[in-house]
């Protein structure tokens, strides 16, 4: 187990985090939630950037509130809102990382930066949002980390670059490595993640394998009459409008078999998000 969080809690004035999750070797886990759901706070708690109130965090089999330097060496991080000092350039950052990480692959890093058309001697303040996003991800990928913690790594990227970087993540994955990635872009997670954590108001409201979510989950559209007669034991969430009710189920086949007169559709991650997290 690369990472295990057990009721990790942190309370602010208007927000309370209470999260349990685990990241296993060989798996890519996605973290989905609206803005302010607690995705970044969770990642910061794992990295020891905030002091949690209670709960346990186990990194690489070791329990501890504080994260050690050796544990940080095994983690590659992308934070959505933070990057290196704007006064540094890529070559300088490569030199810094080369002296900070014991296994930093400087040549590969610089080669990839050139491949992604990142100017090596230009200060970061001249970089576009997309260029900074590329640099952050490449920095996280080039020191042979066992665990990647990626908070909105593809934000600000065009579709082509996003796809290229997601391919980098796929190429990075091996049996002994794991990734926790948060994103607003569900299509990124759908094609990448083995399992998904849905987060709302600081809590995990659903954890499911992506394959299962796409194969077994479904959307039911029912009238008020149909709603009254419906067996709702497999209903996870519902949303009512004036004329009908939209329901999320984790047993689409059950409703297909037993309720021939209602509309049953396959659900996408966006559908699950909209119904579950609204």
């Amino acid at each position: 187990m690369l990472l295990r969080l057990e009721h990790v809690q942190k309370t602010y004035d208007t927000f309370a985090l209470d999260v349990s999750m685990q990241i296993e070797e060989g798996k890519i886990s996605g973290l989905i939630g609206a803005n302010g759901a607690g995705k970044s706070t969770t990642i910061k708690a794992i990295l020891g950037l905030i002091q949690t109130d209670s709960g346990t965090i186990e990194r690489f089999g070791k329990q501890g509130k504080m994260i050690s330097v050796s544990e940080k060496q095994k983690i590659g991080t992308v934070l959505s809102e933070n990057t290196f000092s704007m006064m540094l350039n890529v070559t300088q950052i490569a030199n810094i990382l080369n002296n900070v990480y014991p296994h930093f692959e400087k040549e590969i890093f610089l080669r990839k930066c050139e491949a992604y058309k990142l100017p090596l001697t230009q200060e970061l303040k001249e970089f576009s949002t997309g260029m900074k996003a590329k640099l952050k991800l490449l920095s996280a990928l080039c020191h042979n980390a066992s665990l990647l913690l990626l908070d909105e790594p593809t934000v600000g990227l065009d579709a082509i670059t996003r796809n290229e970087l997601l391919n980098e993540l796929r190429a990075y994955m091996k049996d002994d490595k794991g990734i926790l990635i948060s994103s607003h872009i569900s299509s990124d997670l759908e094609g990448l993640c083995d399992d998904l954590y849905f987060m709302k108001d600081g809590k995990i409201v659903l954890h499911e394998d992506t394959d299962l979510l796409l194969s077994s989950y479904g959307i039911l559209k029912v009238s008020k009459e149909q709603y009254r007669n419906l067996d709702r034991k497999y209903i996870l969430a519902e949303q009512q409008d004036v004329y009908s009710t939209i329901l999320l189920t984790n047993e689409r086949q059950f409703y297909l078999d037993n309720y021939r007169d209602i509309v049953v559709e396959k659900s996408s991650i966006d559908d699950v998000m909209l119904l579950l997290l609204k």
Binding site: K44, L47, L49, I50, Q51, M66, I67, S68, V69, S70, K72, Q73, I75, T77, L79, E81, N82, T83, F84, S85, M86, M87, L88, Q92, N95, I96, L97, N98, N99, V100, Y101
Partner: protein, 215 residues
């Protein structure tokens, strides 16, 4: 440690213009006011070298790049130790550079210049031991204000003591004179010991402040 030192070095060399201005003014002062100027110029260059250290705090805070920094294999202890080491190196470079220039210009005064330089360096180390925890606690901008308030409070307290306890300042002067009368080796050991103690206390305080920080 080396990575952090490199980072601060890269950030410092961005201040090329500032460094050139320091050197130009120092050269001008040395040229025009040699008699009273050597000690002053050494102090001037050394204290301004501290400003370069403070500018690295500003850079760490700018765009909250310190958050990114703390995701690297860096803990509070390493970050604080690096800042102290970098301050020490900057102060030492400033003192050494100025002393070397003065010694080259006036070789006959080399002994006096070296003594003055050593005294300035020890004072600078003591100054760093006060400034660095304030910077780490309050950040670069608020830290400057906090430092100013501390200096004003310090002066006010000494003035108050002098008014309430008549003869307070003369008594302090007597203590300083008696200390100055000690054997140079004893005095040097005492001063270095005091400086090291201050740095150790200051480092411990800074580390505890850093430990409690959230990002």
């Amino acid at each position: 440690m080396k990575g952090l030192l490199l980072k601060d070095f890269y950030l410092t060399i961005q201040k090329k213009k500032f460094m050139l201005i320091i050197l130009f003014v120092a050269g001008f002062l040395l040229y025009t006011q040699r008699e009273a100027g050597i000690a002053f110029v050494i102090s001037y260059v050394s204290v301004l070298s501290m400003e370069l250290v403070l500018s690295t705090f500003t850079a760490d805070e700018f765009d909250r790049s310190i958050v990114c920094l703390m995701t690297l294999p860096v803990d509070s202890s390493l970050y604080v130790t690096e800042k102290y080491l970098f301050s020490f190196l900057c102060g030492l470079t400033g003192c050494f550079f100025t002393t070397a220039v003065c010694a080259a210009l006036w070789p006959s005064d080399i002994r006096a210049t070296a003594v003055q330089s050593a005294i300035v360096f020890v004072i600078l180390v003591l100054f760093q031991s006060i400034v660095l925890p304030i910077q780490i606690k309050f950040g670069s901008e608020k830290g400057r204000i906090a430092l100013l308030i501390m200096v004003i409070c310090g002066v006010a307290i000494v003035s108050l003591f002098d008014r309430i306890f008549v003869g307070f300042l003369p008594a302090i002067e007597t203590v300083i004179n008696s200390v100055a009368g000690l054997h140079p080796a004893v005095l040097l050991t005492a001063v270095i010991g005091l400086a090291l103690l201050c740095i150790l206390i200051s480092w411990t305080v800074s580390r505890k402040i850093m430990d409690k920080k959230s990002y």
